[in-house]
Amino acid sequence: MSKYQSFIGLEIHIHLLTASKVFCDCASRFGDEPNTNVCPVCMGYPGVLPALNEEAMFMSYLVGKALNCTPAESAIFDRKNYFYPDMTKNYQISQFHSPVGTGGWFDIDVEGQVKRVRIHDIHLEEDAGKMIHSASGSLLDYNRAGTALLEIVTEPDLTTGEDAEAFLQQFRSLVRYLGVCDGNMEEGSLRCDGNISVNLTGKGLGTKTEIKNVNSSKFLRLALNHEIRRQKKLLERGEKVVQETRLWDEASARTESMRSKESAHDYRYFPEPDLPPFRPDEAFLSRVDGAMTELPLARRTRFVEELGLKAVQAELLTEEKSTADYFEAVVALGSEPQNAAAWITGDVQKYLKRREEEIASSSLSPERLATLIRLVDENRINRNGAREVLEAVLEEDRDPESIVAERGLEQEDNSEELAALVDKIAAENPQAVEQLKNGDMKPIGFFVGQIMRASGGKADPQAVQALIRDRFGL
């Protein structure tokens, strides 16, 4: 048992993909001209009142269900009071006493081990606007003010930066599966803070520090691991860890204390009097049930156990729901699962990446890929021909069969012609023949390559190999 134990808890904020903001009808859209998606309500003008967006509530309950939380029978909004220039009312409508969901868990896969992380609660709140600092002063853009933000708070069940990275990646995948968030960390639609404390084993939680504003799961891992080392060193030296907020500095690869005037906040929470408690009815809850989908980890496990995929392939295929759906569509069209998986995670992905395309929106429909795989399986085209067809399908948006026909890629099975070629190449390379006869198999590849080239790529490599073995009695 190691001397120290570390405890990591995460607070994740996701922007919900609702069409409008959480308490008004303004578009919930980023990147528009500053202050164009605003109205008296989200600007906090005198006399306006919030009106709860039921779509945001729906997505929140859906996430709650996916995270095995107990759904609130009566979700209550509270006011969280603090002054900040980009908060229009200087209080944030959030949830404190009775959030949407409490007491759940999320199973993550860390290097093949399933780890259960408890969820403390999930609560819905409004986001603040954005401050843009310039030489002439600070400018305020309120387009983001009032957009629906769901906060997920875990218990301190993670122990390493690797755990946290896996959690964040798999959670991102989850919310994309559910269709409630695009998970884009660079644009801030998914943000994560990490709380971390280190203590002597068996002594429980230590003094925690908070790492804020990390914008990738990799940096989260680096920052937390750095912070674990830093706190251990302090404890080794008999020093105390100061409870504070720290920032990850990418350039120096270390966490640094964030000077903060607002250290001891008293948010003075009290129930938001402008919003009645939200009590989901039967219809609402069954709509949530109906929107539930097989989650990434479950799907990954099924792909391994039922379809015989390798863990790595299953992971690659299930990260995005659209890819997993695509894969299953190809299998449903008759392709052998492992073969389809190899195609999708191999050549298909390589070409898509080069073309910067998504599989779901590319011209390679599941039908076309299934056809292509069948053509190869039936030995009608070889691997090289298949690659050419694949590229052409993506390029020209046409069916594989017509491309094969047009380009004359159909494999020739002219054994006599091939036999003549083998003789010719053997005559030209007596040394290689000698090697083969002495039991050294290396030259087989050389022979196959030569023959393939001589046939203009149309020969079936497997047939060629069989022919060579035949010819030299191997």
Partner: protein
């Protein structure tokens, strides 16, 4: 009498603003009065759609209720120069009946006060006796109606802000059931307590305006669909308080007389005790100030209103709030911040909420044995301006009769019931939630024992 709809607004008001000659004559009448009572902070008749039951009828709007294109000062320096970009739902609904906003009425800053002296626009005065206050915080609205400048006005009632000035000015003042009228567009002071209310020269006008503005509004999720729960008159029992102390002799006399009046017109008097009445004021101020501390946090000079100079952002906000808010507002923000402090919430805010529940329960019990409850609106009649009047603390203690209805969310109607010397005295009728019809109907019956007079100088519009 119940459920009969009368066309209440006196004919002389109809079409007034659609007729330039009558409008001009009326304007000079208004200007004369305004020199004495300062009831409006802005007069700027809005265009109307010309149709509907109240076509061309002018009305006043308390200046904490939004009307697009007009100021929304809330009686505060901090909203100096602010023009509302939108219109309150209640005003929109009145517009739909053809009524036209005549102007914005003076008030105690952000609705905090009982005298209408607490305004950046200066004090308003009582039309019966300009040496006295018109009451508050909807003092401007009450004074304008009493003087005949408008047949009705919208006010807001957080702890008695419609009923108390109605009582001081001898007009009808309704605080509706919480949720019966949309609060969208009413600048928030204490959200869970306040309602938009009506001040009117006669009970039928009050009722007609209420009919026009009540009902659910998607912009206010605390509003509810209107459902009349008055029921058929079964008992004709009216509850009265057994042991009323602290009343001025004048108010006490009117109270006893109105009690007799109700007996005369066939009501059975049921004496009751409200044990929680002593806790109304502390509970009310705890909840109201807590909510106010949050509601008033948005005034920072950043996006609208008055902005002070400052060295940096925090300094600018501090100076803006320091210069922009008056003493009473600052006092209540501080009090609210104090009672919500972490670790003390249960001691103050939580306890106040429990008292609030008890007050509601006690009212429910009273209404099991009686249709209505009769109480004085305020322990004294209109008091003189300035130092010789009531001090701020006495005024707060005196809110106990009115604030109870706000804590319980039930409707209350203050009706003119007598005189104390040269100023009127009002009594309030309280009923269970959504039983406004009982109040209107009882107020109409009461006219047979007391017909209120108009203040000196009052003239019917031509």
């Amino acid at each position: 009498m119940k459920n009969t709809r009368t066309n209440a607004i006196p004919a002389s008001w109809r079409g007034m603003l659609d007729d330039p000659r009558r409008a001009a004559a009326h304007r000079s009448y208004v200007d004369e009065w305004e020199k004495k009572i300062n009831s409006f902070v802005q007069i700027d008749p809005r265009p109307g759609n010309g149709e509907g039951a109240l076509a061309g009828v002018p009305y006043g709007v308390k200046d904490n209720i939004a009307v697009k294109g007009l100021g929304l000062s809330c009686g505060s320096k901090i909203l100096e120069g602010f023009i509302s970009p939108y219109t309150a739902t209640a005003v929109e609904r009145l517009e739909a009946t053809g009524a036209r906003v005549y102007g914005k009425c003076n008030l105690d800053e952000f609705g905090m006060g009982s005298s209408c002296e607490n305004s950046v626009h200066g004090a308003s005065s009582n039309p019966w006796d300009p040496a006295r206050v018109p009451g508050g915080s909807s003092g401007g609205s009450a004074a304008a109606v009493a003087a005949g400048l408008v047949p009705f006005a919208l006010g807001s009632d957080t702890g008695g802000s419609v009923r108390q000035p109605a009582s001081f000015c001898g007009v009808y003042g309704l605080k509706p059931t919480y949720g019966a009228v949309s609060r969208y567009g009413l600048v928030a002071y204490a959200s869970s307590l306040e309602s938009i209310g009506i001040l009117a020269g006669d009970v039928d006008t009050c009722r007609q305006v209420f009919d026009s503005i009540k009902g659910e509004d998607p912009k206010d999720q605390t509003s509810v669909p209107w459902e009349d729960r008055s029921g058929e008159s079964s008992s004709r029992r009216i509850a009265v308080l057994e042991d009323l102390s602290d009343l001025s002799p004048g108010v006490d006399a009117v109270y006893r007389k109105s009690l007799e009046g109700f007996r005369e017109i066939g009501w059975e008097i049921v004496p009751v005790r409200l044990k929680t009445l002593d806790y109304v004021v502390p509970a009310y101020y705890t909840i109201a100030t807590a909510e106010a501390s949050a509601n008033l946090a948005r005034y920072t000079g950043i996006r609208y209103g008055y902005r002070a100079e400052g060295e940096d952002h925090a300094d600018m906000v501090r100076n803006t709030r320091s210069e922009g808010f008056g003493h009473e507002v600052k006092l209540r923000i501080l009090l609210g911040t104090y009672v919500l402090r972490s670790g003390f919430q249960d001691q103050y805010y939580g306890r106040a909420q429990r008292i609030r529940t008890l007050i509601g329960d006690e009212f429910s019990k009273v209404f099991q044995g009686a249709e209505m409850l009769l109480m004085p609106t305020f322990p004294v009649a209109a008091f003189p301006h300035g130092e010789s009047g009531m001090d701020a603390f006495q005024q707060k203690l005196a809110d106990k009769f009115t604030a109870a209805a706000n804590l319980a969310g039930i409707p209350g109607l203050s009706i003119p019931a007598g005189m104390d010397g040269n100023v009127p005295v009002g009594m309030q009728l309280l009923a269970p939630a959504f039983c406004e019809e009982r109040l209107f109907s009882a107020a109409r019956e009461f006219l047979s024992v007391y017909e209120p007079a108009r203040c000196p100088g009052f003239k019917e519009p031509s």
